[in-house]
């Protein structure tokens, strides 16, 4: 006898969505209590997410369907919920983190401009994210997906007045970016992905006749075979489909919006990085992954083209992990360093999901590690950003070099931030260690040694940049001049508690790490059996020899040490003087410039897309449009008037000339009659 909690998922996404307007409805007299109501709605969403755990059916998934609207010729689109391990786990994570972030921002946003707008977008953002996670079909999913993109535009560009103090980038002589422009950049880049994704969804619909995820899984054999009959179609579909998640999750080549997405208030960055938005892309990849796995490994004969999906996801993920990590090594803005690290960690998740399908045995390990890493990253990255909000607020500076905190005055913040940072590095026994180890292991299991090396290198990079920013902020020592900050002490408990809880969770998950991963693996294998028609033999854990199990752990720990050692000497014990090393070594100096300029990718895109469009404006208006305008609106009237005036010249009014006309006319008439044979 189990209680029915069918209402839970509906309320879960509806509550924050409704909550987004609640503070407009409540009387103004309530003051900031109106915003507490918004937080309450998000709290209800979290409770609903918890209830969903209880309504999880034993057979793996449940669908709640509703009619939405009909299409011509009898088809229809439903509005529905799909509950399976993936969606329930993610909904819980998102609802929980969002709630904590909203609690934090209740204090953080006090007295900031545009608070009404802020709460509207935040709550709708959460609603959109939960909608896309819980949706059971592509159209409903896509609506949540687009809402998330739109809200990010509103939130990143929150300080739309572009006052000097909200600029990011720099320090001089490097250029600054203004918040409104950053918001637009995020919107445009992600929308480009959305447009392509919609194309992919439509192609799948044309072959399968459905938008519903479960039906897509169940009929995968039929429609994939049909699609594979024309070579190339599946590849195009995969590429279109992946452009969406890559843009949303800030993966190469669509990653350039994320470093600038921190122009909004800090809780926004926390939400974007930890709970909503960038996780959406990973979710979509995880959602459609079984379909392509099925096509590549289970379908008989297998469809080779489906492997494109895994190859692209794994390579782009691995590459982005490395790319973004290296950029974080030189970042001077705290939030930018964290943003790069998000891209890098998301890259890990993509890598993990990618290698999951590159060998028939790596599925469960790769899939589980990817999602496990997503959970861990959500928790510790939220903690890092919430700490960063306090630090930036206290020091009135966005640059780590201008921050100089005393760990005694802020010992909680200091401790919590170190815990989260160590989890980011992957120090055992914190949560990040287990999932990162799993990712390395699945690279090995699937035989992708090149990707393994890349991932291991990134571990060293991660360890370097994390210790660097922590060291610069908290462990300046006395040798350096006193920067700003340090005077304000710990924040109010409303702000401290959320990231405190997250830090404790990081430790907690770390302690039960191996068991939790095992449990997740079991849940996902079950999900594969039931919905995704992936038979049992594919989800059996490949028996890896104990030595192979040790390799990733050893590699990971070694790489951490390799990265940590120089960072420790340079930024904590101050034995190394980085500025002097840079001065001496030209190669390192060149590398620094290269990394500082983000591998010149941003400059390249600006040159190719932005500048070229701007350059096209004048020629378009002046020559193309102006030319057509002249030809039609001026040319034709002028033609008529010139004909007009020329004909007028014929009428001279002189009798003898007129007689000549008559003579000429008569001659022509006679000739005409003769030709026609009348005369």
């Amino acid at each position: 006898m189990s209680l029915s909690f069918d209402f839970a998922p509906w309320l879960c996404w509806a509550m924050p969505t409704i909550g987004s307007v609640i503070h407009f409805i409540l009387p103004k007299g309530l003051g900031r209590a109106r915003y507490a109501a918004v937080v309450l709605f998000s709290f209800i969403a979290w409770i609903m997410a918890l209830l969903m755990i209880f309504s999880m059916p034993s057979h793996g998934y449940e669908e709640l369907n509703g009619f939405w609207f009909s299409l011509p010729k009898g088809a229809s689109v439903g509005i529905g919920i799909l509950l399976d391990s993936l969606s329930v786990i993610l909904a819980n994570l998102v609802a929980f983190l969002s709630f904590l972030i909203l609690v934090y921002s209740f204090k953080y946003m006090e007295g900031e401009p545009g608070e009404n707008r802020y709460w509207f977008f935040m709550s709708l953002f959460i609603g959109g994210m939960l909608m896309l996670i819980l949706a059971n079909n592509f159209i409903f999913f896509f609506i949540g997906w687009k809402i998330v993109g739109l809200c990010s535009f509103g939130l990143i560009g929150h300080y739309y007045n572009d006052d000097r103090k909200y600029w990011i980038g720099g320090p001089p002589p490097y250029p600054f970016q203004k918040p409104s422009r950053c918001g637009l950049k995020a919107l445009l880049v992600t929308t480009f992905g959305d447009v392509a994704l919609l194309g992919g969804i439509i192609i799948i619909y044309l072959y399968s006749g459905t938008f519903n995820f479960v039906e897509l899984y169940e009929n995968a054999g039929v429609w994939l075979t049909k699609m594979a009959e024309t070579p190339g179609i599946l590849t195009i579909t995969i590429l279109l489909l992946l452009a969406g998640p890559f843009a949303k999750s800030a993966q190469f080549p669509f990653h350039e919006w994320l470093p600038e997405a921190m122009a909004g208030p800090t809780p926004v960055s926390a939400l974007i990085h930890a709970a909503t938005m960038v996780k959406a892309g990973v979710y979509l990849v995880a959602r459609v992954l079984p379909i392509f796995y099925f096509a590549a490994w289970i379908l008989n004969p297998g469809i080779q083209e489906a492997m494109v999906f895994f190859v692209v996801v794994a390579t782009i993920g691995g590459f982005t992990a490395f790319l973004a990590g290296t950029q974080a090594m030189v970042a001077l803005e705290l939030k930018k360093a964290l943003a790069y690290s998000t891209m890098s960690v998301i890259g890990y998740m993509m890598l993990s999901l990618g290698v999951a399908g590159m060998s028939p045995t790596a599925l469960v390990e790769g899939y589980t590690s990817g999602i496990f890493h997503l959970i861990n990253h959500g928790i510790f990255k939220a903690a890092l950003f919430l700490c960063a909000g306090v630090l930036i607020h206290n020091s009135h500076s966005i640059y780590i070099t201008e921050m100089n905190f005393s760990r005694k005055e802020m010992k909680f913040t200091w401790a919590f931030m170190w815990i989260a940072s160590l989890a980011l590095i992957g120090i055992p026994p914190l949560s990040g260690f287990w999932s990162k180890d799993g990712i390395l292991l699945s690279c090995l299991e699937s035989g992708q040694y090149a990707l393994f090396v890349l991932a291991a290198l990134t571990v060293a990079v991660t360890s370097f940049y994390t210790i660097r920013f922590m060291g610069i902020m908290f462990h300046k020592g006395h040798s350096e001049e006193k920067g700003h900050g340090g005077h304000a002490g710990e924040p109010s408990v409303i702000m401290l508690l959320p990231y405190g809880i997250l830090a404790v969770l990081t430790v907690g998950i770390g302690l039960i790490g191996p068991w939790m991963k095992e449990a997740l693996a079991e849940l996902f294998s079950e999900q594969f059996h039931t919905i995704h028609i992936i038979s049992t033999e594919h989800t059996v854990h490949a028996s890896v020899s104990p030595i192979a199990e040790i390799i990733p752990i050893a590699a990971s720990l070694t790489m951490i040490a390799i990265g940590a050692f120089p960072a420790y000497r340079a930024y904590i014990s101050h034995k190394l003087k980085t500025s002097e090393i840079l001065k001496r070594n030209e190669l390192l100096r060149g590398l620094h410039v290269f990394l500082w300029n983000r591998w010149y990718i941003d400059a390249f895109f600006n040159r190719v897309f932005v500048s070229s469009v701007l350059a096209s404006r004048e020629p378009t208006a002046k020559y193309i449009e102006g030319g057509m305008d002249m030809a039609l609106n001026v040319g034709i009237p002028r033609l008529f008037s010139s004909i007009n005036s020329n004909i007028r010249k014929l009428q001279t009014g002189i009798l003898s000339v007129n007689m000549l006309y008559i003579l000429g006319f008569m001659i022509i008439l006679i000739i005409a009659f003769m030709v026609l044979g009348v005369l």
Binding site: W68, F142, G157, S180, L198, S616, I624, D629
Partner: protein, 497 residues
Amino acid sequence: MQVPYAMLQVILAPVLVAFLTVFFGKYLGKKLGWVAFGVLAYTSLLMINIGIDLWNGLGPFYEEYRWSTAIFDMKFGFLADGLSLPVALIMNMICAACALYSIHYMEHRIEQLFGKEERGMYTVYFSIYLLFAVGLVGVALSTNLIQMYVFVELALIPSYIMIDLFGYVDRHRIAMMYFIWNHIGAAMFLIGIALAFVGTGSFEITALGNLTNASLGFWVCLFVLIGWLVKMATFGFHVWLPYAHGEHPTSIAAIIATIVGLGNYVIVRLLYGEMLEAFRVFGTPLLILAIITIVYGGFLTLAQDDFKRLYACSTISQTAYSILGIATLTTMGVAGGVFYFLSHILGKCVLFSIAGIVLCQTGIRDMRNLGGLARKMPLTATLCILGSMVLSAFPPLSGFQGEWIMFVGVFQEAGASTGFTVAIVAILATFLTVVYTFWPILKVFFGPLPPSLENVKEAPLSMVLPLFVLMLIAFIMGIYPESVMRLIGPVISSMAP
């Protein structure tokens, strides 16, 4: 509940009021706007009433009146089915909203042009305004080709007079240009009608289906199509539109965006609905023309610095989306195209009105001199974002639903004939819309406020509220697309074999 002569009332009531205004107009002055709104609201309610019956599966409803028996039997009829009614209703509601909007706007404009005491100008404006609205609704409800032509001209002539009297820079020349271009379009349409009459001996729309002569069918299609492509400002025929829409008084510019889109309805009703066989050959050329127009219109819009002209140019590209949907000749494409057209006119009406509000409150049209207005005009800025969301297909507003349904049709057609490349190009082109709708928001509403604009005030509620109502309609269509699909879906499915 069925109202007697409902559709006749929809047409005649505004005409009657338009004539009456001549007598009592000068006593009312700008309050005439409320009279115009009242009568249009009444006719909207009449149509909603019909719509409810249609929703419940009744209908379609016909009203027929004898027009002439002199040489041949000619009827004057109205048809309300699932396709014509939503089109007519939404256009009528837009006209009603713009009537309210015009009160403040025209006060400002008439004062500028004719001085404060010129109350007679309100009479001129609102009487022809009503005739204009009748013209639009009449085109959608007509059952007879001559009747349709009359209504097309009825929509054209008032808008010509309005631009000539109340327009902006160089308005007399542009009014003439607008009139000539549109009249050429209408004349082509009339030639098509005449050719059809040669073949069928009737002016009834339903008689077009009897046109068995294939070559005659081709010519009829060609002339009707060229006529409406001129009016819809597709690439090559578009040069009049940036001027006309840019210099019209904005309340009218918002509505003539509707005339531009109305071509989509006419093409679906006449060519797709009645003579699909003859129309089929035009599918692929029309598809390519639409894509060229979308891309070119997008770049042209990006090249504008003038806030009004910007939205004028975006109409070129947006109208071509619907043409794209219709050109696929698939049920989904056509249904999506019509849906998109409905949602586009809602969004475009709001955006033009925003340009008008900004012009009215600041006196500036050049976007390079604007900035930071969101702080001074938060409601206007919100509306501008909402309108841009409709255009660039952001849920939960209606544009998204129209766009994806339409693109299912586009991919279906492309997959069957030329391969997906064309469809992918088309769907990637929609990215341009986001660029050219959201980039101007940045320039006009965000960033620092220029010192000269410190004293700008938010627009009066009589301008802003009607626009919010339009966005509410777009919102309802977006979250519950069934509200439109249930009406247009079956009609469009029944058109194709």
